[in-house]
């Protein structure tokens, strides 16, 4: 069955619940306005079951009602990630099992960029968006070089640490420095390593376009809002997948 509608307590009843706030003092007019909004959203009938003033200028509503929309599950389009999202436990298990040693990640901000917000959000144990950073993962060895790391220094440390992956964060975008720096970094790694021995190169930052990896010469670009778990899952997919095959 591919056509469905919401289920309250009877098949096909189409019942949904909704809560929201309107910037209107609580009154009968406010309740009417809430019903009108729910109606415009397609709830018919819409029942305002709860209205409560929040301070003098706002009112909070809970609305129950029926919607008549049908959804066709056959027509749902899902953007498939090309790697599975793993929990820290799964990441650790995969590394332990398939790599049989800790996976080494070297990270930093290159060029004159002193904004470590991005790299720290991904690497620091404190993490980002409720997820712990890569330092939290027992099977990942994280070397965070911090800000203003020169490309030669980054290559040198990656070699010394036998890095499996190099993570670079770029926040400053004046005159496209983030793109120039990234290309310089990619070229330096290509020069310093034989092709199949090169560590995985990953860049991230709020102004990067995720489709630009090839053009920049890196293996992956992460844009705004990327969480540590996504980065860890990607590293595992690429690095442990390779060794297993």
């Amino acid at each position: 069955m591919s056509i469905v509608r919401p289920y309250g307590d009877t098949t096909g009843d189409g019942m949904v619940q909704l809560s929201f706030t309107l910037p209107v003092p609580h009154s009968k007019v406010a309740e009417g306005a809430a019903a009108q909004l729910a109606g415009k959203m397609g709830m018919d009938p819409a029942l305002v079951v709860h209205a409560r003033p929040m301070g003098p200028d706002f009112t909070f509503f809970v609305v129950y009602g029926r919607v008549h929309h049908l959804v066709d599950t056959d027509q749902v389009e899902v953007v498939e990630r090309d790697y599975p999202l793993l929990t820290p436990k799964e990441v650790n298990a995969a590394v332990k099992e398939r790599l049989r040693r800790r996976l080494v990640v070297v990270g930093g901000c290159i060029g004159t960029d002193a904004h470590t917000v991005g790299i720290d959000a991904i690497l620091n144990i404190k993490g980002f968006a409720g997820e712990k950073g890569l330092e939290y993962y027992r099977e990942l060895k994280v070397v965070n070089l911090g800000a203003q790391v020169s490309v030669p220094h980054l290559v040198e440390r990656a070699r010394a640490e036998e890095a499996d992956a190099v993570l670079v964060s770029q926040v400053v975008t004046q005159r496209d420095t983030h793109l120039l720096n990234t290309r310089e970094m990619a070229a330096a790694f290509r020069e310093a390593y034989p092709e199949h021995r090169r560590p995985l190169l990953v860049v991230g930052g709020p102004r990067f376009d995720e489709t630009m990896a090839g053009e920049l010469g890196v293996d992956r670009v992460f844009a705004r809002g990327t969480t540590p778990g996504e980065v860890a899952s990607f590293l595992v997919a690429r690095l442990t997948g390779q060794e297993a095959s």
Binding site: G55, D120, G130, Y136, R138, N144
Partner: protein, 524 residues
Amino acid sequence: MTSKLDLDPAAVRAARRLAERAGAPIVDLARRHTTVAVERATLRLAGLTGADSDGIPWVNRLLDCVRADLAEDGGLQHGAALPVWDALRREGIEDLSTLAQKASAGSVRFRLPEGADADVARAASRRQVGAGVAALDARRAERERFVSEVGDAPATPWIYLIVATGDIHEDIPQAQAAARAGADVIAVIRSTGQSLLDYVPEGATREGFAGTYATQENFRLMRAALDESSRELGRYIRLTNYASGLCMPEIAVLAGLERLDMMLNDSMYGILFRDINPVRTFVDQRLSRQIHARAGIIINTGEDNYLTTADAVEAAHTVTTSQLLNEYFAKEAGLADWQLGLGHAFEIDPDVPDSFRMELAHALLARELFPDAPLKWMPPTRHMTGDVFRGNLLDGFFNLAGALTGQGILLVGMMTEAVVTPWLSDRDLALQNVRYVMNAAGRLHEDFHPSPGGFIHERARQVLGESTALLERIIEHPDGLLDAIADGTFGLMKRPADAGRGLDGVAEKSDLYYNPASDILEAP
């Protein structure tokens, strides 16, 4: 509150003694070192404010010049006071900002004064920094007057709410709305990454990452707004910010000068969770706590962080250990019991059987170990899944545990934790939750007496035992707590004493070292 756990007083004394033994060598280390942040905090106490056209504060500029000129002669080792006040006198300059500007332009050279010159510089620096300390005293007295004038928070726990828009001018109306809705304490979350800046930004700021920069001007604006709210509401609304990261003591000074009331200020958080050098952290922390003590500021420690990274049952004893260490360091720095907002959190997996009984045991243990400390009770975050309905229930149990165990400061949990930054309605629902629990069960602790030998008693005893064992293990390390931090005894992080951020801003004090701030704040 009478004892509900019947903890063995000898076991409690033993735990405190162990914390003291683990902490004493760290205090000694802190006494023997100074840092760039300590010297900059001293310059701030002496009244140096403002920044150059690149936004770099004059305290940074001036200290950098002193360090550079004395590079051959010990650099930071002697402290900033002697070279700075010597230069003021030699150059006939009246104020520090003129000196900082001239020094940055290269027209003033610094030296280490000797003999009578050093005596004169010492006395002059002490006078000027003394005026700064007097300003802290004045703001503290002002707070006390204000509280007695408009009235204090009507009940405990104090209701603690967070604002975090990134824009101080958006934060202000939100904070005032939260106060009207019932908050006793407003915390302004800092911009992500400020802890790793080795300077304090200047001025009113309107953009931050997931928070608002801690600056003196932002402090002043928010305190003024909450003073207005305090008068309107007839109760004093406290303001909280963060004295953590690389500028701990400087931010403590700014907080004292702008009459902030509570500051997050943990002894080990920066080391473990931000990879800041351990020596830097302990040195900075000591002066920051001395300043908080003087300014009448309540500190909030960060034990909740241990539970967000490790299992809250297995790691319960690390919270107790950290609380004992935080207490030792705080008291050594002069803080009184009423200023110790020791942290802990409601983070046990709700699917674990008896999770609530364990939460009660842990919360009661903290209450009874530190009977005169306010204690900061932190809501669930780890097991908030996005199911807001279940989240609201968990927050209700969190509030109930807080009521049953007499917590002093209750950080209000949001059912939309991990979903969105709190909406107006989230905050309202969360406060309804708190009010319902406090109204229905606020005095239930009078009837709540866990049975001797029962689950709660045994669990509390077990956690205290594990905490004592952990302290013993720390002391067994050849270099004590520093080694324990280096080998990953706390959390999962290995943080060696010779690595981490801010290490290049640490120096061992010379025999000639002088710091008027320490001199005044440590005077008996």
